[in-house]
């Protein structure tokens, strides 16, 4: 009996422990985000969803605990040879989610390693089919192509690849430097072109402006010339009118009026010449002696004014009585004129005969030495008088 009692007691203790262990093993709480697969004698039967579940003791047990959340896998850097034989280093990241826990548990061993390798090989093949330039500019294309292939490949595993992103594509340093140089050269080219363009436009604008200004200046000159010509025409017309008026006046009056004006102007001009501040010495040209002859006009005026002879009479008239002061002047001026005429003429020319008074009348008279010397004396006297006058004017002008 004692032995039986002890046996029962031990059995009760063992039973309590058994129940404890069975309950711990059979009652499963699956946390949210996980699915557990259940195997009955090693064979998959069902999947436990999050929450409280009870397995059949001794028959069923948990197979795999599968994470159903979206997971991130870092795709490590790997060397990829592009289509144009450049070696680049590329890495990336893969997002995947298990949608069928049983397939993920039993269709593939080590799901993450499988996905990683699949991704790496596909990145390699996709990038290997592209040129380096394409590679660097077409990441979206690479991503979508890799995603397509890998997503199809993981279909039997109950997994969905949400996305695959290439993180870095690193060409070798020397290639990077070359690319940087290329980019810089490209920018510099653009800058140079822009600068040249700007200079061209500026030069064109400047030339355009100069052209415009020259055209305007020429137009101004043309206009001015036209007006000048007009003014000259107008002046000439006025001159003509004036001349006509003078002519008419002369025609009505006496021609000696003209002589008076000419002589007046002439003397005035001589005075101005002598009075010129930069002209100390006045050298009368040889011709001036001849021009003095025009003073004869004055004589004629006087003669006409005081004498009885009509104007225009070429033969010299006898001098008026000596009492008339004008007659002397007249005579002397005439003498000077004649003397000048004689001096201008060749020596062999017929010398005037007689005194100056008769010289006009006796142009053809035989030459006489005395008369000759007398004439020269008179000429020198007249010249001296003229020089005195000029000197006075000169001093006065100062």
């Amino acid at each position: 009996m004692f032995d039986l009692n002890l046996g029962i007691n031990l059995y009760l203790i063992a039973a309590a422990i058994l129940v404890f262990v069975v309950i711990v093993a059979a009652v499963k709480t699956v946390p949210q985000g996980m699915h557990y697969t259940v195997e009955r004698f090693g064979r998959y039967t069902r999947t436990l969803r999050p929450g409280l579940s009870i397995l059949t003791p001794f028959v069923e047990r948990i197979g795999d605990k599968i994470n159903m959340r979206e997971q991130v896998l870092d795709v490590p850097s790997q060397e990829v040879i592009t289509k144009d034989n450049a070696t680049v280093t590329a890495n990336g990241v893969t997002f995947f989610q298990v949608l069928d826990a049983a397939k993920a548990a039993y269709e593939v061993t080590d799901l993450e390693v499988a996905i990683l390798n699949l991704t790496m090989t596909n990145i390699r093949s996709v990038m290997g089919s592209m040129d380096l330039d394409e590679l660097l500019s077409n990441r979206d294309e690479i991503n979508s192509r890799v995603l397509r292939v890998v997503d199809s490949a993981v279909d039997p595993w109950g997994v969905r690849i949400t996305r695959i992103e290439i993180k870095d594509i690193n060409p070798p340093p020397d290639l990077t430097a070359a690319m940087a140089r290329q980019m810089k050269a490209e920018r510099e080219k653009r800058a140079l072109v822009l600068e040249a363009d700007g200079a061209r436009l500026a030069a064109i604008a400047r030339a355009e402006g100069e052209k415009q200004s020259l055209i305007l200046a020429a137009e101004g000159r043309r206009e001015a010339a036209l007006r000048d010509a007009e003014a000259r025409e107008r002046a000439a017309q006025a001159e003509a009118n004036a001349t006509t008026s003078v002519s008419e006046a002369i025609a009505k009056g006496s021609v000696q009026a003209i002589n008076y004006f000419v002589a007046d102007k002439y003397v005035g001009a001589l005075r101005d010449l002598a009075a010129a501040p930069n002209q100390r010495t006045l050298i009368l040209p040889v011709d001036a002696v001849a021009t003095l002859g025009s003073l004869a006009g004055i004589a004629e005026i006087a003669r006409e004014a005081f004498g009885p002879h009509p104007a225009g009479a070429s033969p010299p008239t006898p001098p008026p009585p000596a009492t008339d002061p004008w007659s002397d002047i007249n005579a002397r001026l005439s003498g000077v004129t004649r003397a000048a005429e004689t001096a201008a003429a060749p020596q062999s020319a017929v010398p005037p005969a007689g005194p100056a008074r008769e010289a006009d009348a006796a142009a053809t008279a035989a030459p006489q030495e005395g008369v000759r010397t007398d004439r020269f004396r008179r000429i020198s006297e007249a010249t001296e008088a003229l020089a005195e006058r000029l000197a006075r004017h000169d001093l006065g002008g100062r």
Binding site: L12, F20, R160
Partner: protein, 164 residues
Amino acid sequence: MLLLAVLRDLGPYAWFIVGALFLIAEVVLPGINLIWFGAAASATGLAALAWPPAFGSGLGWEGQMVAFIGFAAVSVIGARFLAARRFDDGADRVNRDLTAYVGRELVLAEPIVAGHGRAHWGDSLWRVTGPDLPAGERVRVVGVDGATLRVEPVHAVLGEARTA
């Protein structure tokens, strides 16, 4: 033997102490469900206290052990029953499989050829199976096959609905 000695010395209250320890362990230790044993120990203690003396010299330790085992089994089964009825109401909307997506309309990104194609959804592509359709067609998810959505053209679904 120590446990038995303690139990014998403390009488029914030993069960309450054991139950409290189980409950503490339940909270502290993750992954192991000990609440059943806590509940069973407490229930056993109550039973031992309430055992009518008329039925002899109280509940022996053997009887108490049997009661504990029985209470543990009953508590687990009862909890499972309650959980199935009250808590597992299908309200969890995360980590469900794709059956939650049945009924949605998608646009085919690639034509369905020989039963396989792809559709746009949420900035990514989903594998779909269904009758051959050109790209750009609107389709409705009618079922799920692993990570693949079974689809039908929307107009066909509408047609069926009309005839039905």
